[in-house]
C-alpha cells in the first residue's frame, strides 16, 4: 500500500488486512457467502436450463408472456444502482461524507457518500417496486407458478396459439420463472433493507471515514453480486 502517495484517483483498502487471509474478516465472510450464493443461483439457473431444453413441448416465446421493455427498464435501474454504489464507495474512500457540495466553476455539485448511497437505495427500492408491479400484472393476466390459470387471458391466448405461448409447458415455465426471479427479488429486498439500516445508523451519523469504511465495501460487494445475477437472469429468462 502506498498511503503516502494517495490521491483522489487512487483506491486503497479501508483497513489493514487480517493476518493469514489477506483481507479483513467482514469482507472475507461476504466473499465466502457470495461463493455459496453462486452455487445457489447455479442450482436455480441450471434447473431452468435443464427444464427449458429438456422439455419436448414448445416453450413460451420471449416476450409472449413477460413484459420485456418493463424488465429492461428494471435492468437499467439495477445497473444505475450498481454504479451509484461504487460511487458511494469511491466517495467515502476519498473521505467525502457529505450529501452534495458545490464545486467552484462547475454546474454539477459533487456527490458524497450520503448522496450516492441514497441513490442506490432508491434505485433498489424502485427495482423491487417494478418487480411487484410485474408480478401483479402477470398474475392478473393468469400467469401463475402453476401455469396459465383456467379462464384467464393468457389461457385463452394459449388455446389460440399453443406454440407461441407454450401451452403444454406453462406449468414448468411458471414455477421456474417465479422461483428464480422471486429469490432474486428477495436478495434485492434484503440488500435494500440492509442499506437502509446502514444509512440510518452509520452513514447519516457520519460513522464511516476514509480510514474505515468496511460496511460500505461489504454491502457494496453484495449489491454488485445481486446486479451480476440479474444480468444473467435477464438474458436467460426474458430474452432467450
Amino acid at each position: 500500500m502506498t498511503h503516502a502517495t494517495a490521491t483522489a484517483d487512487m483506491m486503497h483498502p479501508p483497513v489493514p488486512a487480517e493476518p493469514g487471509s489477506g483481507v479483513y474478516s467482514n469482507k472475507l465472510g461476504m466473499w465466502v457467502f457470495l461463493a455459496s450464493d453462486v452455487m445457489f443461483f447455479t442450482a436455480l439457473i441450471g434447473s431452468y436450463i435443464i427444464l427449458r431444453f429438456g422439455v419436448t413441448e414448445p416453450w413460451a416465446a420471449p416476450g409472449a408472456v413477460l413484459n420485456v421493455p418493463l424488465t429492461a427498464f428494471n435492468t437499467f435501474l439495477l445497473i444505475c444502482s450498481s454504479v451509484s454504489m461504487v460511487k458511494a464507495y469511491a466517495a467515502i474512500a476519498d473521505g467525502k461524507k457529505y450529501f452534495l457540495r458545490p464545486v467552484p466553476g462547475k454546474l454539477l455539485r459533487d456527490g458524497g457518500l450520503k448522496f450516492w448511497m441514497l441513490v442506490t437505495i432508491i434505485c433498489g427500492a424502485m427495482f423491487v417496486g417494478v418487480q411487484v408491479f410485474e408480478y401483479v400484472k402477470l398474475l392478473g393476466h393468469g400467469f401463475t407458478p402453476a401455469g396459465y390459470r383456467d379462464g384467464s387471458l393468457l389461457a385463452e391466448h394459449a388455446v389460440s396459439d399453443a406454440v407461441r405461448y407454450g401451452a403444454t409447458s406453462a406449468g414448468l415455465y411458471g414455477s421456474s420463472f417465479f422461483t428464480m426471479t422471486g429469490f432474486h427479488g428477495f436478495h434485492v429486498t434484503c440488500g435494500v433493507v440492509s442499506m437502509l439500516y446502514l444509512y440510518s445508523t452509520k452513514v447519516l451519523p457520519e460513522k464511516y471515514s476514509a480510514q474505515d469504511y468496511r460496511g460500505i465495501e461489504t454491502i457494496g460487494l453484495y449489491w454488485h453480486f445481486v446486479d451480476l445475477v440479474w444480468i444473467i437472469l435477464f438474458t436467460i429468462v426474458y430474452l432467450i
Binding site: 500500500m1 502506498t2 498511503h3 494517495a6 484517483d9 487512487m10 483506491m11 486503497h12 483498502p13 488486512a17 487471509s21 489477506g22 483481507v23 479483513y24 469482507k27 472475507l28 466473499w31 465466502v32 457470495l34 461463493a35 455459496s36 453462486v38 452455487m39 447455479t42 442450482a43 439457473i45 441450471g46 434447473s47 436450463i49 435443464i50 431444453f53 429438456g54 420471449p62 416476450g63 420485456v68 421493455p69 429492461a72 435492468t75 437499467f76 445497473i79 444505475c80 450498481s82 454504479v83 454504489m85 461504487v86 460511487k87 469511491a90 457494496g220 460487494l221 454488485h224 453480486f225 446486479d227 451480476l228 444480468i231 444473467i232 435477464f234 438474458t235 436467460i236 430474452l239 432467450i240
Partner: protein, 91 residues
Amino acid sequence: MTTAHTRPNYILIWLYLFLMTVAEVALAFELPFSRNVKLLLLLVLALWKAMLVALFFMHLKFERWRLRAIFMVPLPLAIILVLAVITEKIW
C-alpha cells in the same frame, strides 16, 4: 484486500453495461439472426456484462489471487453440476 490501484472509470463501465443491455434487447427482438446465433451472442453479452461488474465494480481485478480463488472455485463446480444433470440420460 484490494491493493492500491488507479480508480477505474465507473461511468464508462456503466455506459458499456447500458449499451450492451440495449444491444441484447435489440438482438433478441429486432435483428434477423438465426436462433442459435442469437443464443450464442446473448450468452456472450451476458457473461461479458457480468465480468465487467465483477472485475471493476466488485474490484476483483485488483484483489489478491486468494480472494479471486474463493469466487472462481464455485464456477467450474457450477458447470460440472449443470453438465452432470444435462447428461443424466446418457449415464
